[in-house]
């Protein structure tokens, strides 16, 4: 079943993430702390990009005199 395969692949990726960042060795509450910090920082970066990217792109195009 395709969904089962995707789930297996995703959990393998999560396992690799745990191994590389050494979260594998930490207790569950420490993993929660680290994951929430990471997700909040990433979320804030995405939100900032979403809010400010149109303005930045217009400013760049204005600088290169592509649009007035």
């Amino acid at each position: 079943m395709a969904l089962g395969d995707y789930w297996k692949q995703l959990s393998w990726f999560y396992y690799q993430y745990l191994l590389v960042t050494a979260l594998y060795m930490l207790e569950p509450w420490e993993r929660t702390v680290f994951n929430s910090l990471l997700i909040s920082v990433a979320g804030m970066a995405v939100y900032t990009g979403y809010v400010f990217m149109p303005q930045h792109i217009m400013a760049i195009l204005h600088y290169f005199e592509v649009v007035q």
């Binding site: 396992y15 191994l19 590389v20 960042t21 050494a22 930490l26 207790e27 680290f34």
Partner: protein, 573 residues
């Protein structure tokens, strides 16, 4: 001093003659010396001229190929850059969480299981604040279940482990009462398979126990010198090809208690970078000046010898009383074999002494199992002090030192171990006597020769297969110690646990024993491992390697290989 400062141009044939100790034709060259007195281009072993940027560092640079009768292939593949960066990142995250946990423990938010100073001592110099203790509390404890696993059977090719479980993240363990049976043992130092509970060795030990008892009750110098000790020492001397030998009850103590007897103040000790803790302890206890040369690097050693002879002792510039080179036969963390022919050529040229610690190589290397000297087909009279242990290949415990008769007679009266430590128990002595006779072939069977051949075949097969699978393996192609690189801290714990799930017991090694990013899993092969066991083990290692993404090696993968054939065995019949 003048004969040492005469500079000689060495050719290949004269290098050979030097090895045999004959006089060689000397041609005097006038070369101007540089400002610090070090004259280049007259060394025995030159630096290679071209700088090659290759993936492998320290590949077999053998400038004097006439000294080596067989090809000497060692490889220590470089750490891939991405892996190194990710490893440092992993250690960084663990350090941050370590500080967080220490903070919680300090403010008593969390219960502290670890040793702490008492209230009255809090104003003194702190005991547990250095990096070693931080590492132990916060990194080692989390994966501690991979070490100190209790064993409840003989440590042969298969082993039984006591099942244990931890409910508070490895601070305390409980035994469930069950036993994990028939775990393939890739961790014990059992190179020739003499750690067994049936057979000729055990029967002889039982007889001797019934005759002499188990304890000795005294030191060698007082009342602990039995006739079997004398028999053992003569046998060891015959085995090694030296004039005389002496045995001690403990291998570690052999090194740390005897090096202080041999050297003292005013002597120079040149020891390898990666020497064992017992050698380092003995060398420090002796009080001599210690200089460390790069691991297995003959140019570094030669430069140090030349500087020592030219400049003498540090402030007074008097000549050194003795120069002792301390090396090991096989380095167990790297799997590398010492470059013995080159060291002997250097030692003869610069008139230094050589102390060779054959803890891992005795019995495991060489066509007759006589160690590194046999492997390189050299004369054992060239090595001044041959030391070794009985733990690894003979299935017993204890150590020996072999050499000239005057040296051993001196040691008998002056060694700290002989004066103060109890001598070897009789069953252990008999185990060594029986196993040594089997290896030499004196018991009438071919068991010894068969086991040596089996170990060599296992080594070649296992190393070749692991290399083909794409793992990074360190060391010489003929050494039975196989270190496989893991690098990342989480993979140390994951590898040990996954292998145990697949019923294979391995030893993983991390920081204090290895550099911080180069953690590894170390496999020790044995003559008792059959082809099926090795195949099972290799299959499991490959699975775990895929699961944990351990196949870091960047050389080309060869063809799906041809079956192992008997021509691959390194032994000649």
């Amino acid at each position: 001093m003048s004969s040492r400062s005469r500079l000689t141009k060495m050719t290949e044939s004269s290098a050979n003659k030097l090895l045999n100790g004959d006089a060689c034709n000397r041609t005097i060259n006038e070369k101007k010396s540089s400002k610090n007195g070090f004259v280049k281009s007259h060394c025995l072993f030159q630096q290679p001229h071209k700088y090659r940027r290759t993936v492998e560092k320290n590949q077999n640079v053998t400038p004097s190929s006439s000294l080596y009768k067989k090809p000497f292939v060692e490889s220590f593949e470089e750490t891939p850059l991405l892996v190194a960066v990710l490893t440092y990142m992993g250690y960084g995250i663990l350090t941050i969480f370590g500080y967080l946990r220490d903070f919680l423990r300090h403010w008593n938010i969390e219960k502290c299981h670890v040793a702490q100073e008492r209230e009255e001592q809090k104003d003194f110099v702190p005991l547990y604040q250095d990096f070693e203790n931080f590492y132990t509390r916060n990194l080692y404890m989390r994966i501690r279940d991979n070490w100190n696993r209790p064993i409840c059977s003989v440590p042969g090719a298969k082993i039984d482990l006591v099942d244990r479980v931890s409910h508070n993240y490895n601070w305390t363990f409980e035994h469930t009462g069950k036993v994990v049976k028939d775990v393939i043992n890739l961790g014990s130092y059992n190179y020739l398979g003499f750690a067994e509970n049936t057979g000729a060795c055990v029967d002889a030990s039982i007889e001797v126990t019934q005759k002499y008892g188990v304890g000795v009750g005294s030191t060698r110098c007082e009342m602990g010198n039995m006739d079997i000790h004398e028999e053992l020492e003569q046998l060891v001397a015959r085995f090694l090809g030296v004039e005389s030998a002496m045995t001690f009850g403990m291998g570690f103590a052999t090194n740390s208690m005897n090096i202080p007897v041999l050297t003292g103040k005013g002597c120079l000790i040149l020891s390898d970078e990666l020497n064992h803790a017992s050698l380092v302890l003995g060398v420090r206890l002796s009080g001599s000046t210690i200089r460390v040369f790069k691991h297995n690097n003959m140019q570094s050693l030669e430069k140090m010898l030349r500087d020592a002879i030219v400049h003498g002792q540090p402030r007074t510039h008097r000549p050194w009383k003795k120069i002792l080179i301390v090396v090991e036969g096989i380095y167990s963390m790297e799997g590398s074999i010492v470059r013995l022919p080159e060291i002997i050529a250097l030692k003869k040229r610069y008139k230094a002494y050589l102390y060779l610690d054959e803890a891992h190589s005795i019995g495991a290397l060489g066509p007759n199992g006589r160690g590194v000297v046999d492997y390189f087909d050299l004369d054992s009279k060239d090595v001044d002090i041959m030391m070794g242990t009985f733990t690894k290949s003979f299935g017993a415990s204890g150590g020996y030192i072999g050499g000239k008769k005057e040296l051993i007679d001196y040691l008998r009266h002056h060694s700290h171990s002989a004066l103060y430590a109890t001598s070897m128990p009789p069953p252990v002595v008999q185990q060594i006597i029986t196993s040594m006779k089997i290896i030499m072939g004196e018991d009438g069977t071919t068991l010894g020769a068969d086991r040596i051949r089996q170990l060599s075949e296992n080594t070649t097969y296992f190393r070749r297969k692991l290399h083909d699978m794409g793992f990074i393996i360190y060391g010489n192609d003929h050494s039975p110690v196989v270190p496989m690189m893991l690098y990342m801290p989480a993979k140390i714990g994951a590898f040990g646990r996954e292998m145990l799930k697949r019923n294979i017991g391995t030893v993983v090694v991390g920081f204090p024993a290895t550099p911080i990013i180069e953690s590894r899993a170390r496999f020790c092969l044995s003559a008792l491992h059959t082809r099926e066991m090795l195949d099972t083990a290799l299959q499991a290692i490959s699975e775990v390697g895929e699961l944990l993404q351990l196949k870091y090696s960047r050389h080309q993968q060869p063809h799906p290989s041809l079956e192992w054939t008997s021509e691959d065995s390194q032994l000649q019949d």
